[in-house]
């Protein structure tokens, strides 16, 4: 898998009305590597993830995920990416298990995988309670299960450790951490932690790339400056 580009972006841009949410993003990420995206709120991090997840069309430039051009070949990409965004994408009135079984059916995943994941995130005991009754941390753990249910090759993680306590972070690490062996795009507001798990660092400000470097070359001061 090494040296094969899992994600290739060339001058990618996206507008919301008159406002440029993302522009001029060019990078290449090898399979199995991790790109960490820094930037203040509204910098375009979530927009980038949604483009890679096929939920938004790029309006400028070209995007290739796992060798497939987007949006033209989005059908081939959807089964192979997992998105963990700010929204858990779970129905509040359904239980955790019902939500995961529903998503498992949409991906053609056997129901046994749901039990396996619930056990992995220590939610088996609360799995039959409606999602609306669970704490935010538990919902986030369920959302992690949903994102990795179909064993995606590429994980798109929008601040994946938000709402999680240290014990919960340990639980989800084998699923979404570096050990999972997947290509990952992770957004983060934690310069120290983010640099530690990154193979490539992208800094966005106002939708434009302000920093693109290896973690060793990414100056912490330059990352901090993105937020000023």
């Amino acid at each position: 898998m090494a040296n094969v580009a899992a994600i290739e972006l060339e001058q990618v841009g996206r507008h919301y009305g008159e406002r440029a949410a993302l522009s001029g993003v060019t990078l290449e990420l090898e399979a199995g590597r991790t790109l960490v995206v820094f930037g203040p709120n509204g910098a375009g991090k979530s927009t980038l993830l949604r483009i890679l997840a096929t939920l938004l069309r790029p309006q400028a430039g070209s995007v290739r995920v796992l060798g497939h051009a987007l949006p033209a070949e989005r059908w081939a990409v959807r089964a192979r990416v997992g998105l963990l965004g700010h929204d858990p994408l779970l129905y509040r009135e359904l239980s955790g298990r019902e939500n995961l079984v529903f998503h498992a059916r949409l991906h053609g995943v056997p129901a046994g995988r749901v039990d396996e994941l619930l056990e992995a995130v220590a939610l088996t005991r609360r799995a039959d309670e409606p999602v609306r009754t669970l704490s935010r941390g538990m919902v986030q753990r369920l959302a992690v299960c949903r994102a990795v249910l179909h064993q995606p090759d590429v994980l798109l993680l929008d601040e994946p450790r938000a709402n999680l306590d240290p014990a919960a972070i340990e639980l989800v690490e084998p699923l979404i951490g570096r050990a999972a062996g997947r290509t990952r795009v992770v957004t983060s507001h934690d310069p120290a932690g983010g640099r530690l798990e990154a193979d490539l660092v992208l800094g966005l400000r106002g939708g434009r790339p302000a920093l693109l470097a290896s973690p060793a070359d990414a100056d912490p001061a330059a990352i901090a400056a993105l937020y000023r």
């Binding site: 997840a53 096929t54 939920l55 938004l56 069309r57 949006p71 059908w75 959807r78 089964a79 192979r80 990416v81 998105l83 965004g85 929204d87 858990p88 994408l89 779970l90 129905y91 509040r92 009135e93 359904l94 019902e98 529903f102 998503h103 059916r105 949409l106 991906h107 053609g108 995943v109 056997p110 396996e116 992995a120 409606p130 949903r146 990795v148 179909h150 064993q151 995606p152 090759d153 084998p174 699923l175 050990a179 999972a180 062996g181 997947r182």
Partner: protein
């Protein structure tokens, strides 16, 4: 656990996807009771209002057919407005779009769900209508009445699903939904009311005029094809 992510699960076919979506839809409705009880209560209240508003304890013929059709239509609008709200507010759209499945499965599942809600509402609403307003007894005409209403329900469900998918992403969805749906449903209302008139006549149930049934069926078919053709574009960015 992650070591086997080279093996890809096979995406489900359209029918399996419809099954999964419909099961989820009905389960959410059973838990929240957001649509069917509100639609039923609205229909029964409307009959009570007609009862007092017309100052008549019994109606028949075209007046009865008109009251029943319009009431069902307005009750349906409540269901149409709620159809995609849980998906929009709880990320169901994105969850569905991330799956490698046929987009038209969502149209079919939502239309089936709305159709089932309408059948449930009509079962109670027709009984209330017979009790509160209708002059002739319904027993004899019941199978034909059910047949006409099912044909109307198909049209309402397809058009309602299409309109709901369009309206739910707008800021004024509660306004846009009815404004788009009601004009499109005029032919359904017209054909349904005309087809019901002989069934609700005091002189005994007459035969249903075939041309109104044909019109209903044709309108259902045309909108089903239009919905199938454009639904993808409504969902995708």
């Amino acid at each position: 656990m992650s070591s086997d992510h080279g093996h890809r699960p096979t995406p489900p076919g359209t029918l399996a996807t419809v099954g999964a979506l419909l099961r989820k839809e009905l389960r959410v409705e059973l838990r929240t009771l957001e649509s069917v009880p509100a639609m039923t209560l609205f229909a029964v209240t409307t009959f009570v209002l007609f009862h007092f508003g017309l100052n008549r304890s019994a109606v028949d013929g075209d007046l009865a057919a008109g009251i029943l059709t319009v009431t069902v239509l307005f009750a349906a609008v409540l269901g149409i407005n709620r159809l995609f709200v849980a998906d929009e507010e709880q990320g169901g759209f994105d969850g569905f779009l991330l799956a490698p499945v046929d987009r038209s499965a969502l149209l079919l599942a939502k239309a089936l769900a709305l159709g089932l809600y309408l059948v449930a509402v009509e079962t109670m609403a027709v009984a209330a209508f017979a009790l509160l307003l209708l002059k002739p007894p319904l027993t004899q005409a019941l199978p034909e009445l059910a047949g006409v209403l099912v044909l109307a329900d198909i049209g309402i469900a397809v058009i309602g699903t299409l309109v709901a998918a369009l309206a739910v992403r707008t800021r004024a969805r509660d306004l846009i939904g009815p404004l788009l749906a009601l004009p499109l449903l005029v032919p359904v209302a017209l054909a349904c009311a005309r087809a019901l008139t002989p069934l609700l006549s005091a002189g005994g149930a007459g035969g249903i005029p075939g041309r109104w049934l044909t019109m209903l069926a044709l309108y259902d078919l045309v909108f089903a094809l239009i919905a199938y053709a454009v639904f993808d574009f409504l969902l995708e960015d």
